[in-house]
Amino acid sequence: MSLVSKSLLLSIRTSTTRLMSRCFSSGLTKSAINSQYLKVAQPKLLPIRQTILARYSTETKQKIDEMVKSDDVVIFMKGTADQPMCGFSKAVVDILNMHGVQFKSFNVLSDEEIRSGIKEYSNWPTIPQIFFKGEFIGGCDILLEMHRGGELIDELSKIGIKSKLEED
């Protein structure tokens, strides 16, 4: 698996500089995974989060509903697009940037209600989460796989966005 995920991440990193070229050398994952982005592991916060989760309300749902539809491409991530606070969130931002996609991002670290609410909303347990025209696409793994397999270009074109990586 590690090999596979390494290649996946590698493909992103390389693509950043050399677009779609796929190079399988080693040594990337470390920086992607053990990146300096923040220490966010806080198991002790779990009880608080669960309490808030229990309070997932119609109001929260409505708010999130508006958020996911607020742009063609919306992501819920840790940190901001300029300063992602998690390797997975960073990967998502990198992929979208690589395709030249304009997107709106919400930082779940700054809003506990949204952080737990979005997981309920999309019935998906992890962050980041990606939405196209209000429709849930998936998390980091899925976007990566779509990117590698070329489906991302098609999915973007379905919502009227031309990827920078699309060949004329």
Partner: protein, 110 residues
């Protein structure tokens, strides 16, 4: 092997009847971050999202403990192609592991 890891493996084995399964702990010991690679017939006819939803559902209880889970869910057909391209894939010993033991739990997906 942390209890959680074998537990995760067993659950996936029971529910997906996988042809190939690899659960890898990349947390350097804290036992809460996993790479999961599953090859199963159950993924046939399902998109990426549905496949991962299936795995998430199986690991629903464990997900509250797991900090990060990356998944690669492929069908037997896809798997054959992958092995044809890279025979080392099916060989456990050839799979590289992250070797930086100084960092722990720097990020997680929850």
């Amino acid at each position: 092997m942390p209890v959680l890891q074998s537990h995760v493996e067993n659950k996936l084995k029971e529910n997906l009847n996988p042809i190939f399964l690899k659960v890898e702990d990349f947390s350097d010991g804290c036992g809460f971050k996993y790479n999961v690679f599953v090859v199963s017939k159950d993924f046939e006819g399902k998109g990426l999202l549905q496949r991962q939803r299936l795995v998430n559902e199986i690991l629903k209880e464990e997900m509250s403990e797991i900090h990060a889970l990356t998944q690669k869910c492929v069908t037997p057909e896809q798997w054959e192609k992958m092995v044809a391209e890279n025979p080392n894939l099916s060989n456990e010993n050839q799979v590289e592991k992250p070797n930086d033991s100084t960092k722990k739990c720097e990020f997680h997906q929850h």
